[in-house]
Symmetry: D2
Subunit: 361 residues, 4 copies
C-alpha cells in the first residue's frame, strides 16, 4: 500500500501541485453522518495562507464532494473530495536544479525523471488540503462522541508557548484562532519573528502540541498498532514533520522513573492518573487521560536566499535563487493538518474497537 493508509477507515490520496486536481477518497465512514460543508470550509480556511506571515499565493481550495454523500448525509460508501488547481504558475520552476530541503532530488532518482516537478508535484503541501477536508468529517464524528482535538504552536525558535492546562478551554482556544497559541503574547512575538525572518528571505520551523480530550480507555493495540505507532505513521506523512513525541517524549531521558510513572488514584469513582507524563497512553493503549503529543515541523525549505545545488543535466555545481510565492513558516498552517490526521487515525482505532455502527449510535 503506497498512497493509502488505514485499516477500517482508509484514506487514499492523489494529485500534484500543478496538475488538474488534488483529492482524497475516504472510506469506512459510517452512513448517516451529517456532512457540514461550512465546517469543512472553515477547516480549509485554517490551512490557507493568510496575512503577512504567509505566501502571497492565494489558493481557492474550493472543494467538491462527488461521491459518498446523498441528501447531506454520508452514505457509508467511499467519499471522494476533490479540489481543482487553478492558480498554477509552473514557469517558476527549473527541474534540473533540485531545491535543497525539498523532495526534488530524491523524487528524481526514484521516478527516473518522470516525476511532475512543477511546484514539488505530488510532494507539494497542497495535498494536505483534501486531508483537511476529510479530517473535518472525522472531527465532526468524534465531536459527536465527546472527543475533541486541539493543537497550538508550542515553540518557534526561542519563543515558547505555555502547555495545556485547562484542557477543554485550551482546546476551544486552539480551535478559534488562526495562529493559535495558548499565551497570546507568545503568539504575537512569534508572528513578529516570522515576519522579520520572512523579510530577510529566510524561513523558520516550530513545534506543535496537540491534546485529544475524551478518548475512552482501551483504544489502540499492543505493538504495531499502538496509538503511538498509528498516529506517528499518519503524522510523519505531513511534509516537513521530522519529529513526534508523546507525553514527556524526549524529556523522559532527563527524569528518573519515580518522577514520571503517573501514579493512579480513584477520583469521582473513576481511575485516573495523578500526573500525565505518558500522554494518556500506556503500552500503546489509551488509559482515559488526555492524549498529548508534539510534532516538530522544519523550516519551509523554500527560501529567497541564494543556495548551492547541482545541475542534474550537466552534473555540475550550480546556484539556485527561488522566485515565486513561499511561506516563511508553515507550522501554523500545519496545525489543522495535524488535527485532521489525528482525527482520522483515532477514528480508525475506534472503529476497530466499537464497529462502524457505534459511531452513529
Amino acid at each position: 500500500m503506497k498512497s493509502v493508509i488505514g485499516t477500517n477507515i482508509t484514506l487514499s490520496l492523489y494529485g500534484e501541485s500543478h496538475g488538474a486536481a488534488i483529492g482524497a477518497v475516504v472510506d469506512g465512514l459510517p452512513a448517516g453522518i451529517k456532512i457540514d460543508t461550512d465546517f469543512i470550509s472553515s477547516q480549509l480556511d485554517k490551512r490557507r495562507p493568510k496575512g503577512k506571515i504567509s505566501t502571497q499565493r492565494r489558493e481557492g481550495d474550493e472543494f467538491v464532494i462527488t461521491s459518498g454523500v446523498f441528501n447531506g448525509f454520508s452514505t457509508g460508501t467511499p467519499v471522494h473530495i476533490m479540489i481543482e488547481n487553478k492558480t498554477q504558475r509552473s514557469g517558476d520552476y527549473q527541474p534540473q536544479l533540485p531545491r535543497p530541503g525539498h523532495a526534488d532530488y530524491a523524487a528524481h532518482i526514484k521516478y527516473g525523471g518522470f516525476e511532475d516537478w512543477r511546484g514539488g508535484g505530488h510532494f507539494s503541501g497542497r495535498l494536505t488540503a483534501p486531508v483537511v477536508a476529510a479530517g473535518a468529517v472525522a472531527i465532526s464524528i468524534l465531536a459527536g462522541k465527546g472527543i475533541s482535538i486541539g493543537t497550538h504552536i508550542k515553540k518557534c525558535q526561542h519563543i515558547e508557548d505555555r502547555s495545556f492546562e485547562n484542557y477543554a478551554e485550551d482546546i476551544a482556544l486552539c480551535n478559534t484562532e488562526y495562529f493559535a497559541t495558548l499565551d497570546k503574547n507568545a503568539g504575537t512575538a512569534m508572528q513578529q519573528h516570522i515576519e522579520s525572518i520572512g523579510a530577510d528571505g529566510d524561513s523558520v520551523g516550530g513545534v506543535l502540541e496537540t491534546c485529544v480530550l475524551g478518548l475512552p480507555a482501551g483504544v489502540g493495540e499492543p505493538y504495531f498498532n499502538s496509538i503511538e505507532s498509528v498516529l506517528s505513521q499518519w503524522l510523519f506523512s505531513i511534509g516537513g514533520v521530522k519529529g513526534v513525541e508523546f507525553g514527556l517524549g524526549f524529556g523522559f531521558a532527563d527524569c528518573p522513573g519515580s518522577e514520571v510513572n503517573d501514579a493512579f488514584e480513584v477520583k469521582g469513582g473513576k481511575v485516573v492518573t495523578k500526573t500525565n507524563h505518558n500522554g494518556g497512553i500506556n503500552g500503546g493503549i489509551s488509559n482515559g487521560m488526555p492524549v498529548i503529543f508534539r510534532v516538530a515541523v522544519k523550516p519551509t525549505p523554500s527560501i529567497f536566499k541564494e543556495q548551492d545545488t547541482v545541475n542534474l543535466e550537466t552534473m555540475e555545481n550550480a546556484k539556485l535563487s527561488l522566485k515565486g510565492r513561499h511561506d516563511p513558516a508553515i507550522f501554523h498552517r500545519a496545525r489543522v493538518v495535524v488535527d485532521s490526521m489525528t482525527a482520522l487515525a483515532l477514528l480508525d482505532l475506534l472503529v476497530r474497537r466499537y464497529g462502524e455502527r457505534w459511531l452513529t449510535e
Copy 2:
C-alpha cells in the same frame, strides 16, 4: 491488522511473558539466504540483561526456527522463530494493583480482565526477543547489499555521547560493544549513573541514536509510506519508546531554513548534500546520505520505591511495592531492538522497490 506489520516483509508477533512461548512469523524473506544462527544468538545476547546495571533475571532466550529454513538456507516461505519461556515466577505479581507506567490498567480496560497479567503478559519487553531474532536475518540480508546499521546511547539524563562522525567506523563500534557509546568516557559515566540510580531503587531513561549507511537514494514512498512514517510505526511499537525524530528532529525548531536546508554538491561524480540535517530523507524518500534518527526511551516503569496505585477490585487507593527482578535502565538493551526493527522496516521498503529477487542477486 493488529499484531502484524509490513507489506512485503511481514512480521507477526505473539506471546506473553509467562506463557509457554513467545515468537514471531516473518514472511517475505527471499529464498536462499544463509541463516547464521550464531549471529542471531549474538544479537539476542545484546538484548540480554548483563552486569550490575540489569535485572538479575537471567533469560535463556534459546530460540528454535521451526519453519522456513531448510539445509541452513531460507526457503522463501514463512520463517517461524520461537523462544520457550522457562524462568517464570508469576508469584511476584498482584493483578488487582496496576503498576504505574505499565500497560496493566489500559490492558485491563481493553480486555475486560481476561488479559494475562503475569509480568505484563503480551506487553512484556520479552516479546522483543523474537523481533531481534527476526531482525538479525534482515540485518544479514542488508549487509549483503552494503547497508549497515548502528545504534549508540546518545544520552542518559545529563550525560551525553557525541554524535556520529565517521559513519562506517562508528557503526562498527556500535556493533561491538554491549553498552555502546561513541565516547568511551560517556559510556562509563552513564553506567556508573545507572548503577547508582538502581541502587536507589529508581530507574532512568535515555536517547538512542541510529545511523543507516549505504541505503540507496529513491527508497521510501511519499506520504503514508515515507521512510519516517514506516520507521516510526515500527519503532513506536517498542515498549517504552515515546519519541522519534529524524535528522535535526525537534532541533529544526531552533534554526532558520538557510542553515538546515542541506545544499547539494557534486562529489566524485555523485550528488551528495554538504550537510545532513534532514537525516538522509527528503519528502519521505532516501536521498543517498546516511539515515540518522533518534529514539527516546522512558525510564523502566518498574521501580522499587513505593508507589501510589488503585485496587481495581475494591476501587480504593492503594500502595504498591514491587518485588522481583527489574532493570534500572533498558535503553542499552533496546539498542539491538531498534536495529532489528529498522532492518525489517527498510527491507520491506527495499523489496517494494527492487522485488524479492534483488535481495539475493
Copy 3:
C-alpha cells in the same frame, strides 16, 4: 480496507450511478509508462452498451486523468481517473421498492436508509468504467513484458463457444471483437438469443473464459495470495459474478487424478506440461503454462416483467414494474472488466516478485 484492493498495486474505487462522478485512484504503477489515452478509450468502448442487445442508455464515459501522468507518461505517483456522470434520470427509481436480484435491500439494511438508491448507487455497474480505464494501463504494461490477456463468451444458456486452442491467435480474436466468441456461429446465435430474450422483457446470463499468455513461472504466493485467491478476490468484485473456476474447475469432480494431473515434459529445452487441466497454476503459483479461468455472470437483474417485492415503508408485499434503460445481457460488456481486473491483479503479483523497476526495464 473496504473500497481498496491490492498490495503493491492498489485500486481505490468511488462513486455512484447518479452522483456527480465516478472514479478510481491507482497507485504503484511505475514511472515512465506511456499512457495511451486512445487505448483507454477503446477499452472503455468495449464496455459500452451497443446495438440491439444492450440498453439504450448511451453513456459518454469521457474520462479525465487528473493526476499521476505528466507529459504523457506515468509519474510513479497515484493516477486518478475520473468520469463525470451526465445522463442521470433518477426519476425512474422508487427507493421503497427494492429490486429483486439487486443490492437495494441488502444496502438498505447495511446503510440504514442513507444509501444513494438512485440507479443502484455505489453498486451500479457504472463503477466498472474507471476500473476498465485503470486496467487499460495495466494491460499495456503487461503487453510490454510479453503477457497478453483475452476473454471470450464461453456460454449463453444452451449455446456454447469452443475453448481456447491456438492461444495467441484466439486472444487476438478476443481483443478485436465487441461480442467476442471464438466460433463466429456461436456468437451470432447468442446475439439472436439475447435479442429475443430482451424482446420478451427478460434477461440472460453467461460464462466468460479468459486466457493469460506469457505469465512467467513462479508468480503468485502459497495460500492466501495464490493466483486463484488473488484473482478471485478481484473477479468476484464485479457485480453479477457468482462463480470463478480455474483450469477444469468444477469439471475436476468428474475425472480421476490419472487423467488430469498434467504430466511434465521437456520441450525445446523448457519444462512444460503435456496438458493444462490445472490452468497454468500449481499450488497457487504459475507454472509457465497459459492461465485459464472461467467466470459465471448471472442474468441482469433488471427485467421488464412484473416482479414481487416488498414496500419497505409499509412493510407490505408489493409489485414492481421496472421502467428505464436496461440490458438483457451484460456478460459481453463484462469481458473487458474481467480483462482489466485480471491485468491489475497479476501486475500486483508481478511487482511483488520483480519490483516496480522491472516493469520498465
Copy 4:
C-alpha cells in the same frame, strides 16, 4: 502480505510438511472467549485420514496453544496454535522429479531450489490443520451469536448428494458425520467408489456445498470486500480447490433473469426472499437468507500409477512412481477446512461491522 490474511481477524500461517512444526497465529479474537480444546480436537479429528478411503499415514495433530489463552479464556492478544510434526518419512521423496499436479515444479522455479521439497514442504495439506484449530474457535464464537455452518459432499464424479433443504437440520447432520452427505445412500455409494478408485491406484475429486445459517443482513462490503470476494480469497487458499460458486453459480448461465431474481416478500414481519438463487448475497452483502456456496476440489494429485515427469537436474524426460501414504480422495477431509476458513472470513466481516466488543456481548 504473503502468508497473512484478514483485516480485523488475521491469520498468519507457517510450516512445512516435514519441518519441526506447523502453526498459525490468529489475532483479533475478542477477549473472554471460552476456549474449548475438546471441540478443537474434535474438529481436527474430522480433518484426519480415517478408514479405507484415506492414507494410512496416521497423524497425531496434537496441538498446543502457547499464547493468547489464559485460564481457559482468550486474552484478546494473538493466539498461537502449534502442531509438532512427528511422523516424517522424507525418504519417500525425489526432489529432482516434480510430481504432476503438485506445487513442486512451480515452487522450484519460484524459490530457486531452496524450497523444502519434502512432502510438498510449505504447500502440504498438513498446513490446514492449524487453520482448522483456529477455525474451531471462530466457529464457537459464531455459534454464540446464532450463526451455524455446515458442509456436505455434493458430488463425487457421477454420484450426487441432494442439496440443503431443511437448513438447520441439514447443518446439524453435516456436523455429526465424518463423511457427510445429506442423503445416506449417496454417501455409501461415494465411499465405495473412492475405495475402488483407490484400489486401482487412482484418485478422485468432488464438490462440497456449504450453508451458513443466521448471518444477519448487511454484512460484507461492496466490491473488493464483498462476501464473495472475501470468502473466495480464503477458500482458494485451500490446496486443491479450483472452483468457487455462490447460489446458482455457474448454473446462472442456464436461466433467464425472471426465474432467478429472488423476489422479496414479507414473512412474519420480516423481509425474506421467496427463493434463494443468489445464495443469500446481493451486491456482495448478506440479505439475511442462508449463504450457500460450492467448492470444487480436484482429485488428489498423488496417485500410484506411473506418471510422466522431467528430471530437473538432467532436464530429460523421466518416469515417476510414487510410493508412500496417499489419499485417493481428500474432499471429505477438506469439509472441515472449508467450515474453518468460512468461519474466520465471516468473523472478520462481522467485526468490521459490529466491533470486537459485539462478539462477547
